[in-house]
Amino acid sequence: MSSLAATERQGWVGRVLLVLGPVLLALVITSGILVLAGANPQATLLKLLAGSFGTAVKRADVAVVWVSLVICTAGLLVSFTAGQWNIGMEGQIVMGAIVATWVGRQFVDISGVLERGAPLLVIAAMVAGGICGGVVWATAAGALKVLGKVHEIFAGLGLNFVASAASIYLIFGTWKQKSGGTLSGTVLLDEQLWLPTLQGLRASPYSLGLAVVVVAAVYFALRGTLWGLQLKAVGRNLRAARTLGVATHRVLFSAYAVCGACAGLAGAVLVVGVHHRLIPGISSGHGFMGILIALLSGFQALYIAPIALFFAALSIGSIALQLDLKLDSSLAGVVQGVMVLCVLLVQGVRQWRSGGSGT
């Protein structure tokens, strides 16, 4: 986690090299994989770009994914600062989506038509409910870690499994569509409960605004507040922080709760702003991708937005790849993974060569 400190010691030339080197390396490796798969690397990568930024519709789709990734990563920055691997974020997103859907369903009839309540208030209640769902799920992982001394990776994984089983139970059981709809998922909620979007596009200015607010809030909270300082103290050295009088349990719980709130918010936005219902695997791996983005950013809130944009563009661009070049869209994940691995390893090589001591 101190890769950051090493970055700060170098001048801007070193920093540019540190960014460009791994990117080039990742490009070479990805091209190699593409050649092995019998594809033309240049054509594929150009297609990837065109598929993500070519039209207004696609740019808006990139924005939709970007919102989700930015909110998740902002939350993860809080838990990482406290030294916690909140791998349970996926389940927290799902829980947020479940609770948001549940709240919405209280106000609609069997075919999803709004029966009572002002639409805006219902949307607000859905979002608030989603946040609560995420907080509860994350706090459960935190309790297992802090009170039960179970490693947070396993606590989070277990809760991920429970959340996804719960969502499947609801989709195929309790909330099953009566008409047996063509798409798997619960009944589509009334259009009045959809977050207003830009004309003819899927992106909503409200969710974009939310994402910016969340990342700014995390940036300032980590930088300029006592809480941010306490998180850092706990993350660097738990025992020392406790000796110095930091209420470590409370700080750790707050880290989980805030991270869960972000996950729940992301889940709720996926319901009110994107899918308008609960679908299987609604988190689409955004929680895991958030961890990659957090690692890539060196745990700096400032870098989240551009890196998340790159990740979102890859995700959307890869869909076109599947349609046009018959290449599987999982290429996006391959490129992302190779990129983060290269950055991490190149940082390591630099420290190793300069004889510095890593973490």
């Binding site: 994989i33 791998i87 179970v150 059981g173």
Partner: protein
């Protein structure tokens, strides 16, 4: 449950648990050496794909290469396992290089490799989805298979299941009774002391991480060539995470790890049985249940709450249960070794 059904269920639990046995014991090996290879989920997934793909491709060339000898099916399947082990070892070496030589966070490197390998398996495996291909053949052991009850459970399996039995025994003996096994435990517990006694800690950690990775890869191929035949998108989803949890559940002890794997197998069999009893619950839920249950079991066994509950018992059973349930991780697990 009638006797016949019970025997068939027990036999299938032993067979279906084999992939997890290989993966969990592979991870036990590198964790006892002090290295956490968090990439098990991804390694199993990618090696399941590569194992099946290699056997599938070779099977296509089979008639040409082996002139239709009787050995052809064995060679193709064995080649699949070899390819999978190679893939597993390569991923493990990346984790080893990143964490041992470059001193990056082991969890971070392992996590990245997990996601990378999962997506790579989907990307590269797209041409092998739902294709019928070669698999490990049934191989009852003559004479032994005819013993009543025990025979059909233990000795009417395939080669992969027999190998899983041998690996459990072999690794238990290796840790407890051999010189290299003792040295391995040394580098996981007190690497500085092991170094002072002349053990090349870095080299040994590389070696055992690669070996562990190869076993995890074998587990992946055991999936696609032995249990859930063939390849489909995210074919082994969840099993790698469970294998990782079982290592902790089993307290890094090969026998207890195997017990954990069989316990998970029993949970899966129970979920199938439960499905018939609870028609109101959607069928899609049942295959998912064993995963949270397994992790929940780990959480209970691993938590402080259990210690408190045990302390209520009288001394005799408390000691016994404590010895059975509690265990400490290798002291140097996940830490970086510095030569001094």
């Amino acid at each position: 449950m009638s006797e016949v059904v019970l025997i068939a269920t027990l036999a299938s639990i032993l067979a279906d648990s084999a992939p997890i046995i290989f993966a969990a014991l592979g991870e036990t090996l590198n964790e006892r050496a002090g290295v956490v290879n968090l990439s098990v989920e991804g390694t199993m997934m990618l090696s399941a794909m590569i194992g099946f793909a290699a056997a599938f491709v070779l099977d296509g060339y089979g008639p040409m290469l082996f002139m239709g000898t009787d050995l052809a099916p064995y060679i193709t399947v064995a080649a699949g396992f070899a390819a999978a082990m190679l893939a597993g070892a390569l991923i493990a070496l990346v984790v080893a290089f990143g964490s041992i030589t470059l001193r990056r966070d082991q969890v971070a490197v392992g996590f990245i490799m997990t996601l990378l390998a999962i997506d790579l398996s989907s990307f590269a495996g797209v041409n092998f989805v739902r294709k019928p291909g070669p698999s490990v053949g049934h191989l009852p052991i003559p004479a032994l298979a005819d013993i009543p009850v025990v025979g059909p459970i233990l000795f009417s399996q395939d080669a992969v299941t027999y190998l899983s039995f041998l690996l459990i025994i072999g690794m238990a003996v290796f840790f407890a009774r051999t010189q290299p096994g003792l040295r391995l435990r040394g580098i996981g517990e007190r690497p500085q002391a092991a170094f002072a006694r002349g053990t090349n800690v870095v080299l040994m950690r590389y070696l055992y991480t690669a070996l562990g990775g190869a076993l995890i890869g074998f587990g992946g191929a055991a999936f696609s060539l032995h249990v859930k035949l063939g390849w489909s998108h995210r074919h082994t989803a969840g099993f790698g995470w469970v294998a990782l949890a079982i290592v902790i559940f089993g307290g890094w002890d090969p026998l207890k790890v195997a017990l954990g794997a069989y316990f998970f197998g029993a949970l899966r069999a129970a979920a199938t049985t439960l499905q018939a009893l609870l028609p109101a619950v959607p069928v899609q839920v049942f295959p998912l249940l064993p995963f949270p249950l397994m992790i929940l079991t780990l959480v209970i066994f691993n938590s402080d709450g259990l210690v408190r509950a045990l302390s209520l018992l009288p001394l005799g059973p408390r000691r016994f249960l404590f010895g059975l349930l509690r265990s400490n991780p290798p002291a140097a697990l996940g830490t970086h070794f510095r030569q001094e």
